[in-house]
Structure formats: structure tokens, C-alpha cells
């Protein structure tokens, strides 16, 4: 039990998951429960002229049918982040109603909700709701949406523009830097829309208890307390202390379960109307149509270089889709989570980004694993490999030439970027050096030359990324438009017997907090991990929390945890000093006991906890008990970084891309559980590979989601991916107590451009420099065909 931090402990939660004993929302069956089924618009854009519910109401087992008119007086779901137009005007924030009133704004927009005694009856009756639609023209492309004459998603939002925004050095300085460059690399491409595909579809149960006037919402959310705040204060206007949010086991989110969805408010509201619990669980087809999607940017990127290959300037113009309505954090993604990352790991002296966010007739777009940072990394890293090719330089050399020099953030200051951030600590060259070494780079280039001579298309691609995690200092994000703080909360309760319950505001939906957090507690207290229980996802037991996303759990939630642990040890030291009749400063706490320095006099952890709750012989003036809470608001973001290298082969005859090797060297600061970090990297890398080669939430021009099932939406499978070769360097975070930076998104951020760069390298003999993702076999074949 001595050192638990740094050990690859097997995940304690896996036993219940693997044996099917997890308790997901859909597993919960309450007495007298009813079931909801939505009637959803088959059209992307249509006036709702009338909804006839009479036949559905007459169907056996139907309890109620509601339409938009029933909620007309209720607020819509709010947006949690405000971005202002360049001219200072507030972004356009049209109402996102619980049920459509006037018109449907994306395929899958809810037009009615049927409540019945069974799922079957609800499903059957939904087919009987007769909706009179007038189909209208739709627009699905974020750039075309802003063009004159495009169909309007919201009549009061001209040109569909939600906001425009810029960041960086003055535009004219960047223009001048690029005009003066000896070489400019220009790329225009889409970062295509992807669907989040959590294995557990969204599921909610509203349960109103009239006796106590109390609501319980069981919800598959990443973010229980924020959902309570948003739903109570902004949508339903019910007192916060009368609502309990329960989100115990949640089967993945990848961002899509951060947000407050209309269905959460509906089941809660209707439960009170009916006096019965109301459950809704999305079908997979509904998940495709209504979960907030990710990415969907169209960008033009230009990077200037001097004659030696030093970057002189970077200019980006991005159109970003918001979808049909503003999801909770949608405005932040293409702006403060995207533009701020354009410094990358390079010394680029002049940077400017211009963003236009538009509404389109599609599902909402919001944070998806990486949220803005993958899009920024994709721009930078595609530019770097393309520039290397154009300037006939080695892509690795080009990076070494441009890396920000190492700084530890302790006795050397952090690095101030041109795009509003201050990096905490970084040492960027060693990750690439190590990745090149693992790859056998020099040998690879020989192998590639031989392969080309034999007509084989082998390619290598690089990506040296940085990301901003551990979101975030509340004051900073507040200044940038967040309508919430982003601290984290912990409570550590040592029971009389020395066993420990930890209540965390972070939320595990697959990340393994029950293991990692318990390791930290066991390590710091010197007690067995089995003596520690981690509780999350219940607003009645956990005081408060900001949930899990942005790789923040350990960096922010873990720091809050350490603060409470330290308070326990401090108080324990007071009790131990009393019991051992020694001065506090003469005691040291290690291995689960307090020892008088230089003696064999000691007292154990459980003796102190028992004393705290049975305070017969106890320090005067000290409160009984051993239970502390802490709020931790970080001093800065954390900045993990890494180097990813992909090697691919392209089938000359078919265009099919095969991934041969994938090397990932990441620096996520200190590591608590290497196995879990490896797992996060593996999962992230595969998700990024999915975007590069396979995945596309593709809307046709009529706004129909063509890839709305697993028959058409291509997820990466095990045999699409080689064994992922990983290693790490360690540059601790200087501003949090564990020195951790976060590992949840790194894989998805670094991998996508590495894979695309590798394919472009393979296709270099054809003079092909730029293809849009996903790099499907046909698109590659067409490009080769010319």
C-alpha cells in the first residue's frame, strides 16, 4: 500500500460493468412509471401547420400526448456560453423550445411527445400522431448558410450568423507577415461533422414526489449539478433544493452528455403534470439525429515561412456550424477552445483567426472529445506537413526548427501565446525525438523509397500537438463568456473506523475515477484502496460539482480532492499530537500513521479517526469528526502535449487506406494509473483515426442524415487499427498539487492530422496535397485517377 500513485491498478468499477451489473438510467424501473416516445420531424426544415393527436390519445395505454403549444409559456433550454460579435453585439440566441411550436429546424426536431403505460404503446401511438408539415428549403453547410439568400433557420437571425469573432494579433500585422513570407502554405478544407456514439443512448426519468414537492431526475449526464442549475433556474423555474439529480453509471459521453437537453426538462415537467414517473430512452436512430454532434468547420488556413523555414505568420478563417439551435457550450468550441490553441507548440510570432458561427438545419454541434482543440491541431499540423512537402524540407526537421524552447513554469515563466493563453510548462522536442526513435524514422524513409520503386504507396505523417485541459480558472472563463464557474468540489469523509468515503463533483462515465481517485486517497493516507469508496453522480450526496469534460477530472477534481485530504491530515495531526503528547511540528505522517520524529512512538490512521468521533480524550477547542470539503479553482489551464506518427499504405487499385503503425508519445504530466492513461490514449487515438478515415455525420442537401445508423455510419473497428505503440515523457504541471495535466482527449487531438498527413505523404508521387476527411477509398481513388 505504500505507493499507490503511479501503479497500474486494475479498475475496480470494471467488475460490475463486465458482468452486466452496472446501474444505468434505463435499468431503473420505478413503480407506476410511464414511458415517453417522441414524434420527430422527418424534414430538416418545415412549418408545422397542425398536429392532430386525437387518434394517438385514443390508442390503448396512452396516458397523454403533448405538443409545442403545451409548453409555449415555458422557457427554452439555455446556452451556457456567450460570445459577442466583433462589433460588441451579443450573439444571436434564439429560443430552443422544449417542443417545436412554429417550425422544425432539423430532421429529428421534436414535434410531439406521447406518454403511455408501456414503451410499446408509446411507440405505436407515436405513429398515430398526424402532423401537417409544409416542407421548406434547408441549408446544411456552415459556409453556405452565411451566403445571401440562404434559407433562414431562425427568421430573426440574418444570414444565419450567430456571431462573428476574432482573436490574436491585429489582422493587418498578420496580413503583412504573410505578405512578406518567402513561402506561404494555403489549405482549404472541412473538418467534417461526426456523431458522438456513446454506447449508452441518452436516457432520462423524471420522478415528481408530490408528498415532499420534490423532483428527481435520473439522467445519463456528465454534468449533474450544472443540469440541475440550468433546468431549475433557466427552464422550469423550480427551486434548486427541490430537485435531485442522479447519474450513477453512464455509458460514455465524449462530450455529448455535458449539455442540458430538452428531453431532461420535459420528463421532469411532465412527471409533475401526471403525478407519475416518466422515462425516455433514445433509440439509436434518435441518438444519431438528436445528440449534439462534433466538429463541422469549414476553414481556410494560411501559414507563412521565412527562407529558413521559420513560421512568420498564421491566418485562419473558419465557418463553424452551431446546428439548428445553440447547445449548452456550442459558442465556446470554435472560439475560446479553438482559436486559443493556434499557437500550437510553435513560436509563430503573428496569429489571427476569424470565425463566423452559423445556424444550419442540422442537429446541434457542441463539444466532442477535444472540442475545438482537435480542429485547431488539424489546421496547424496539416499546414506543417504540407509546408514541409512544398518547401522540400523534412517535416520533423521543420518542427524542431519551430518548437517553443523548453520551460518548466516553476523557475522559468510560462509561455505567453499570441492567442490569449499562458502555457504552464512544456518541453516539446523530446516527445518528437522519442517518437522518431520508436518509429525508426531514418530506416522508414529508406523503406518508403524502396516501396515507391516497387509501386507501393507508403506514407508517414506527423502531428505535434498541444491542448488546453483542466478547464478552468473561473475568472478567466467568465471573462471569455462562460455563464458558469469551472472549479471543482470534493468532500472526504473519514468514518470512525478509518474507512473513507469520497464525494466528488467530477463525474465518471467510463474514465475510471473510482480507481484513480481511490489510488490518490490510499496513497496520501497510507491505507488500502479497498478502504476507500468514491461517490459521484448524485446531487443529494455530492455537495456540488462541475462535472467531467475537457480532461478536467484529475487536474481540477483531483486537486480539490488533495485539498480535502490535506485538511484531514492537518486535523489528524492535531489529534495525534494530543494523543502522543507531542508538539505538532515534531510529528510526521507517513504509511498511515503519525510518528514522533526520531522515536518509535506512533498512532495509526484508524485510531485517530475513532478518536475524532469518540472525542473523550481530545484536544481542547477542536471540533469532533473527520470530514472536510474543498472547492478548488485552478490557477491556469493545463497543457498536455505530444507527438503522434502514423504510417499508412494506400492500395493503388482501390484507394483503400491501411494503417500500418501508430506511434503516440504523450506528455500528460504526472500519471496516477499508467494503465488507465494508456487506455485513454488508445481510445482517443482510435476515435481520431475514425474521423480521419471513416466517420461522417453526412447530411444531404435536403438536410437528411444519410449516415444515421450503424449500417451507414462507419465506426472504427479493432481490425481497422494496428497495435498502438505508446510512450510518455513527464513534464509535471507546475500549478496543481498532483502535477497532472489530463489525458482524456490527447489521443483524439493528436491522431487525426497524423493519419491524414500520412496518407498525403503516401500520395505525394501523385502531387495530391489536400483531401477532405474522411479519406474514403473512393475519394482517394478519385484523387489518384486525377
Amino acid at each position: 500500500m505504500t505507493k499507490m500513485i503511479g501503479k497500474s491498478v486494475k479498475r475496480v468499477e470494471d467488475k460490475r460493468f463486465i458482468t452486466g451489473k452496472g446501474q444505468y438510467t434505463d435499468d431503473i424501473i420505478l413503480p407506476n412509471m410511464t414511458y415517453a416516445q417522441f414524434v420527430r420531424s422527418p424534414y430538416a426544415h418545415a412549418k408545422v401547420l397542425g398536429v392532430d393527436t386525437s387518434e394517438a390519445l385514443a390508442h390503448p395505454g396512452v396516458v397523454a400526448v403533448y405538443t409545442g403549444a403545451d409548453f409555449a409559456e415555458i422557457n427554452g433550454v439555455p446556452c451556457g456560453w456567450q460570445v459577442d460579435f466583433k462589433n460588441g453585439d451579443t450573439m444571436k440566441e434564439p429560443k430552443h423550445p422544449l417542443i417545436v411550436v412554429d417550425k422544425a429546424r432539423h430532421a429529428g426536431d421534436a414535434v410531439a411527445i406521447v406518454i403511455a403505460e408501456s414503451r410499446e404503446a408509446a411507440r405505436d401511438a407515436a405513429d398515430l400522431v398526424d402532423v401537417d408539415y409544409e416542407e421548406l428549403e434547408a441549408v446544411v453547410d456552415p459556409k453556405k448558410a452565411a451566403e445571401e439568400g440562404a434559407p433562414l433557420v431562425h427568421d430573426d437571425v440574418p444570414n444565419n450568423i450567430c456571431f462573428d469573432w476574432e482573436l490574436g494579433n491585429p489582422k493587418e500585422e498578420v496580413d503583412a507577415a504573410i505578405a512578406a513570407a518567402s513561402h506561404v502554405t494555403t489549405l482549404e478544407f472541412a473538418n467534417q461533422r461526426v456523431a458522438p456514439n456513446a454506447i449508452e443512448p441518452r436516457s432520462y426519468i423524471g420522478d415528481y414526489d408530490s408528498t415532499n414537492d420534490k423532483y428527481t431526475l435520473y439522467t445519463s449526464t456528465q454534468n449533474p449539478h450544472l443540469i440541475r442549475l440550468l433546468m431549475c433556474a433557466f427552464v422550469l423555474g423550480i427551486p434548486e433544493h427541490k430537485v435531485r439529480i442522479v447519474s450513477k453509471d453512464v455509458g460514455g459521453g465524449f462530450g455529448s452528455k455535458i449539455f442540458h437537453y430538452t428531453e431532461e426538462a420535459l420528463v421532469t415537467y411532465i412527471s409533475k403534470q401526471l403525478g407519475r414517473p416518466v422515462k425516455w430512452t433514445a433509440e439509436r436512430s434518435e441518438a444519431f439525429l438528436t445528440d449534439a454532434h462534433g466538429r463541422d468547420h469549414v476553414s481556410k488556413a494560411e501559414m507563412g515561412f521565412d527562407a529558413e523555414g521559420k513560421i512568420t505568420g498564421l491566418r485562419i478563417k473558419t465557418y463553424a456550424s452551431m446546428g439548428g439551435y445553440l447547445s449548452t457550450f456550442a459558442p465556446a468550441v470554435p472560439t475560446y477552445l479553438h482559436g486559443t490553441l493556434l499557437q500550437g507548440v510553435y513560436t509563430t510570432p503573428k496569429i489571427h483567426i476569424d470565425v463566423v458561427a452559423t445556424f444550419t438545419h442540422t442537429s446541434a454541434v457542441d463539444a466532442y472529445r477535444g472540442a475545438g482543440r482537435p480542429e485547431a491541431t488539424y489546421l496547424l499540423e496539416r499546414l506543417m506537413d504540407t509546408a514541409a512537402l512544398e518547401m522540400e524540407m523534412d517535416p520533423a526537421e521543420l518542427r524542431f526548427k519551430n518548437f517553443i524552447p523548453a520551460f518548466n513554469g516553476i523557475d522559468e515563466p510560462g509561455y505567453a501565446t499570441n492567442v490569449a493563453l499562458q502555457y504552464d510548462s512544456g518541453n516539446y522536442a523530446p516527445v518528437l525525438e522519442r517518437a522518431l526513435e520508436m518509429t525508426g524514422y531514418k530506416d522508414f524513409r529508406k523503406e518508403q523509397a524502396e516501396a515507391r520503386a516497387n509501386g507501393k504507396l507508403l506514407g508517414i505523417g506527423f502531428s505535434t500537438y498541444i491542448e488546453a485541459c483542466g478547464i478552468a480558472p473561473s475568472a478567466v472563463v467568465g471573462a471569455l463568456g462562460a455563464r458558469a464557474g469551472l472549479f471543482e468540489v470534493s468532500q472526504v469523509r473519514v468514518h470512525p473506523t478509518g474507512k473513507v468515503s469520497v464525494f466528488t463533483g467530477a463525474h465518471s462515465h467510463g474514465q475510471g475515477h473510482e480507481t484513480t481517485f481511490a489510488q490518490v486517497v490510499a496513497d496520501k493516507f497510507g491505507i488500502p484502496m479497498e478502504d476507500v469508496d468514491i461517490v459521484h453522480g448524485d446531487s443529494d450526496t455530492v455537495a456540488f460539482g462541475m462535472g467531467t469534460y475537457g480532461s478536467r477530472s484529475l487536474a481540477v477534481g483531483g486537486s480539490a480532492l488533495v485539498k480535502s485530504i490535506e485538511k484531514i491530515i492537518d486535523k489528524g495531526t492535531k489529534i495525534a499530537a494530543h494523543k502522543l503528547e507531542a508538539a505538532e511540528e515534531d510529528l510526521e505522517f507517513a504509511e498511515g500513521k503519525w510518528t514522533v520524529k526520531g522515536t518509535d512512538k506512533s498512532i495509526g490512521f484508524a485510531d485517530i479517526s475513532l478518536t475524532a468521533y469518540v472525542p473523550h480524550d481530545y484536544p481542547a477547542g477542536l471540533e469532533p469528526g473527520l470530514d472536510f470539503s474543498s472547492f478548488y479553482d485552478p490557477a491556469n489551464f493545463t497543457y498536455p502535449f505530444g507527438a503522434h506518427i502514423a504510417i499508412v499504405e494506400v492500395d493503388k487499385d482501390t484507394g483503400k487506406v491501411s494503417l500500418k503503425r501508430f506511434i503516440a508519445v504523450d506528455d500528460v504530466g504526472n500519471v496516477i494509473n499508467p494503465m488507465i492513461v494508456d487506455g485513454q490514449i488508445h481510445g482517443g487515438v482510435v476515435q481520431g483515426i475514425g474521423q480521419a478515415l471513416l466517420e461522417h455525420a453526412f447530411y444531404d442537401e435536403d438536410g437528411q442524415l444519410v449516415t444515421g445508423s450503424y449500417m451507414d455510419y462507419a465506426m472504427p473497428r479493432a481490425d481497422d487499427v494496428p497495435m498502438i505503440e505508446t510512450d510518455r515523457t513527464t513534464t509535471p504541471c507546475p500549478h496543481n498539487p498532483l502535477g497532472v495535466k489530463g489525458a482524456g482527449e490527447a489521443g483524439a487531438i493528436g491522431s487525426t492530422p497524423a493519419v491524414v498527413n500520412a496518407v498525403m505523404d503516401a500520395l505525394a508521387p501523385y502531387g495530391i496535397k489536400n483531401l477532405s476527411m474522411p479519406l474514403t477509398s473512393e475519394s482517394v481513388w478519385r484523387a489518384m485517377k486525377g
Binding site: E283, K656, L694, T707, D712, S777, W781, R782
Partner: protein, 284 residues
């Protein structure tokens, strides 16, 4: 993903199943492995009133050696066929093809009869059965009959089966060790069905191709025997030139499908590439 309400009957004999089909007509559907039907029902693309489950009928399950042919029961799973020693030895194209269908779970539940009755234009079995020159034995109200695999598939999700007919077995001519077989498949990345699947069965004397049967699935709205490629191979010594010349004839005069994953032009191209790959693999 909730199907419309339906009645369920577990049939104990083929005659009983046929009787029920006759009685209920279009309102009834045969259930075997359920791997095409159940998803379609859950999406409410198909809403039968009665399911007649034939998966418990022992007569439909075995693989029998009848001298010059193998008789494969319609309710045999893809997995049972893939692992059958008889099929691997005497009708290897079926075993080779079975191994490429779906994944292990699907191969352990889905059946050959169910798949061909469903007649998905991208399914793997049709190409293999046509290349193997198999015949389909069916039983219906009008009695028993056999249909050549070449004539069985008539369009998208459409076959030569009458409304009241049930597939009993697949009859596959046994091949000697002078025959060689291959199935080459370019799969759709999401569903893993065939965008192009090419099955080849050839009788060889050293490099000389005595006879050839080449069939495609995925390319058009139904699987088909490729007469041109087959006859370009038969009677030739196979070398780079003759193989390329034969493959270049692939899918000529066929109405090619086009969709989000592969345009008509790309499918036509892939048919040629996969014809060549299947031929080369067969003689490798």
C-alpha cells in the same frame, strides 16, 4: 427500436410452416436466425403480423453428403458452414465465403436460408452459390421444386420464391481437388456488407483453366453470374495477361448501383479489380 406487435409460432415441421404461410400470405414471415428480419422489424421497415420460427426444425439444420453433392439445410448458420469439414473439402467456396460474413456473433446466429431469402443485394452468399452452381430446394403449397442459384435472385430483396414457399436446403455440387476457389470482397466500412464481392470457382490443370464460374454480389441490384469473365478464363493458360484480360470484362452490361459509399463508376472499377484479385487468389 421497438417492433410493431406480432404473433409468434414455433413450427415443428416444414409442412406446418408452409401451411401457416399459405394461410397468412404476406402477413406472415419466416424467422430463422433473425439477423435480417429483426433489425428491419425494429426499424418498422417490416411489420409482419405473424412470425413462423423454423429454427427448431432439425431437418433444416444438417449438412449431408449425397455422393455428388452436399445438401446444406436452410437453417444452417454461417458459422456451421464455415467450420464444416465436408464443406471445406467438397465445396470450399462456401466455407471461404461464410468466413467473411459479419462477425462471429452474426455467423453463429444468421442462416444461409435466411440470408438468401432476404436477398440483400450486398450479401455474400449469392455470389458464392452462383459460382458453386448450387440449386435451392424449396417446399410450398404447390409441392417441392428446385431453383438454380443463377435464377433465384431476381432483384433488390426479391427472389423467385413464391409467397408460400420455404427454403429447405441448398444443393451444392462437390468439387474435386482439381478445382480452386476464392472469394474477394471489398466491404462497406460501416455495415461490412459487400460493395463488391467476387466469387470464383475454376477447374485447373496446372496453369490451364478448364472451366470457370465467376459471380458477383454488391455490384448491381442482384447477384449475377458473369458470363464474360467466366468464358474469358475457360480454355486459357492463366498468366498476368490472360487474367487481366478476363478481369477487364467484369460486370459489363450490368446496371451498377451507386450510393454514398461507392458511386456507379467506382463500383464498376472495383468489380474489375476484385475479379482479378479473386482469380489470382484462387490460383495462388
Amino acid at each position: 427500436m421497438i417492433p410493431a406487435a406480432f404473433d409468434y409460432h414455433k413450427a415443428t415441421s416444414v409442412a406446418e410452416a408452409v401451411g401457416l404461410l399459405k394461410e397468412h400470405g404476406m402477413d406472415a414471415k419466416i424467422l430463422a436466425g433473425g439477423h435480417s428480419l429483426i433489425p428491419a422489424m425494429k426499424l418498422r421497415l417490416n411489420q409482419p403480423e405473424l412470425l413462423i420460427d423454423i429454427s427448431g426444425i432439425a431437418d433444416l439444420k444438417g449438412i449431408k453428403d449425397e455422393g455428388r453433392k452436399l445438401v446444406i439445410g436452410a437453417a444452417c448458420t454461417h458459422g456451421a458452414i464455415a467450420s464444416s469439414a465436408e464443406v471445406n473439402k467438397d465445396a470450399p467456396i462456401l466455407a471461404i465465403t461464410a468466413k467473411t460474413i459479419g462477425d462471429i456473433q452474426i455467423r453463429n446466429k444468421g442462416t444461409i436460408g435466411g440470408s438468401i431469402a432476404h436477398a440483400d443485394p450486398a450479401a455474400d452468399w449469392p455470389a458464392a452459390l452462383i459460382a458453386a452452381d448450387a440449386t435451392i430446394e424449396v417446399l410450398g403449397g404447390g409441392g417441392s421444386r428446385t431453383i438454380a442459384a443463377t435464377d433465384f435472385f431476381t432483384g433488390i430483396y426479391d427472389t423467385a420464391l413464391e409467397e408460400d414457399e420455404v427454403i429447405i436446403a441448398i444443393h451444392v455440387p462437390k468439387v474435386s481437388s482439381t478445382f480452386t476457389s476464392a472469394y474477394a470482397k471489398f466491404f462497406q466500412p460501416a455495415s461490412r456488407f459487400a460493395i463488391v464481392g467476387c466469387a470464383v470457382v475454376m477447374e485447373m490443370k496446372d496453369n490451364y483453366c478448364v472451366s470457370a464460374r465467376v459471380a458477383f454480389t454488391g455490384v448491381s441490384d442482384m447477384a449475377f453470374f458473369d458470363e464474360k469473365v467466366s468464358s474469358a478464363l475457360a480454355g486459357k493458360s492463366l498468366n498476368d495477361e490472360t487474367i487481366a484480360a478476363a478481369a477487364a470484362q467484369a460486370a459489363q452490361g450490368v446496371d451498377t448501383l451507386g450510393d454514398h459509399f461507392a458511386s456507379e463508376e467506382y463500383r464498376e472499377h472495383l468489380a474489375k479489380v476484385y475479379a482479378e484479385r479473386a482469380i489470382r487468389e484462387a490460383i495462388a
